[in-house]
Symmetry: C2
Subunit: 229 residues, 2 copies
């Protein structure tokens, strides 16, 4: 058992027992080190891991905002894991796309069935109609649209995974933009597809919503020649 794992187990146990809640602060690194009988560097390694896992947020200084504060931020660690494993080329892009299709078509179907409030989606689509958007800006709004749509289904795990997928592939998608024959024409098509998806969700047509978003995702990846399932 490595020393820093003592801290990880301790924190996880206290979280599970409810003795540590979101918004509260971890004991100081020096205190933690003395309590567990280990050195401050070992504690720091554990805190770094917790930070990477989205469980704490560290800040210098004093006051209630400083120190290691318990948070619940599952998106950034999932993003980091996916990005790193995409970088190793042991996570095929095709599998990511397939997963997106599965999650998003489910979410669209659920959103349509629940007649979820889709006003936020419309704001994003309006923003995407602005002329002269750079590919980077356009894709960021596009990602926000897809993530927001996934969130409508009300499942925080699936929403987090979707947000992570989008963040992780952000760079790859932008790098593939030059593969597109005509960027302007592509945005026109994507915007129209988004509107159609929104319409289906609002109309309460689960099958239509799911089919439209499946075609939307598949179509883009084929056009951009990001290798496909």
């Amino acid at each position: 058992m490595k020393n820093y794992e003592l801290v990880l187990h301790r924190v996880e146990a206290e979280l599970a027992a409810g003795r540590l809640r979101i918004g509260e602060r971890l004991p100081g690194e020096r205190v933690l080190a003395e309590q567990l009988g280990i050195s401050r560097p070992s504690v720091r390694e554990a805190v770094r891991v917790l930070e990477a896992m989205g469980v704490v947020r560290t800040a210098t200084g004093s006051g209630p905002e400083a120190g290691a504060v318990i948070v619940a931020e599952p998106v950034s660690p999932l993003t980091a894991v996916l990005r790193l494993h995409l970088a190793t080329n042991h996570l095929p892009m095709g599998d990511v796309v397939q997963t997106r299709i599965l999650l998003e078509s489910w979410a669209a179907r659920e959103a349509a069935e629940q007649q979820a409030n889709a006003d936020e989606l419309e704001i994003l689509l309006d923003a995407m109609d602005a002329p002269g958007l750079s590919p980077e800006e356009f894709h960021r709004l596009d990602a926000e649209f897809h993530v927001a749509l996934s969130g409508l289904a009300g499942n925080v795990l699936i929403a987090a995974v979707m947000a992570s997928l989008r963040s992780a592939i952000h760079g790859y998608v932008l790098a593939a933009v030059p593969n597109l024959p005509d960027w302007e024409a592509t945005t026109v098509g994507l915007r129209a597809e988004h509107r159609a998806i929104l319409k289906a969700v609002r109309a309460g047509e689960p099958d239509d919503a799911a089919d439209l978003i499946t075609a939307h995702i598949r179509g883009f990846y084929q056009a951009a020649r990001l290798n496909m399932p």
Copy 2:
């Protein structure tokens, strides 16, 4: 920019560029520290994060197995993230169950359509027929069956997520066993359902396979009173 992030970015860049491949070793901590102009503790914090992310595996000693070796192990970090966030109670168990149903029914459907080789599943089911299995042993085999089934669809991301979900909830499921009215009777039912699922996959009946596994998962969580969607 914190110092240890220098290492993370460096490693991710080298992975993406193909200069670091799986099985190769990271430079020694002392070397890395000097190359980046930072201290060894900072390097160590970064290595710990990479280890937690399943990108490297560290070992002491000398020889090709020692040091920080590049690996691709996405399951353990995903498991850790899910476990920690389950511990914070900001990840409802119901959402996890819903996600399982979505992923596993998809995987069962795919496996049935592809007529994937399901021999491994049968070995697991035979092992589950052994009399006198403890709930812990039974559930471990059960988890293996579900993960193996998810793997048949051939999507490494979905398989990794499924494996993580099972590992993360392992403890919670075992803790819920006392809620069951009759453990022995439950195992009889679960085994029969597993056989039915396997049969549907082998028969190439995607709809049946998906429906059976959905009912299988939902039924167990309702019986064990792990809160449901």
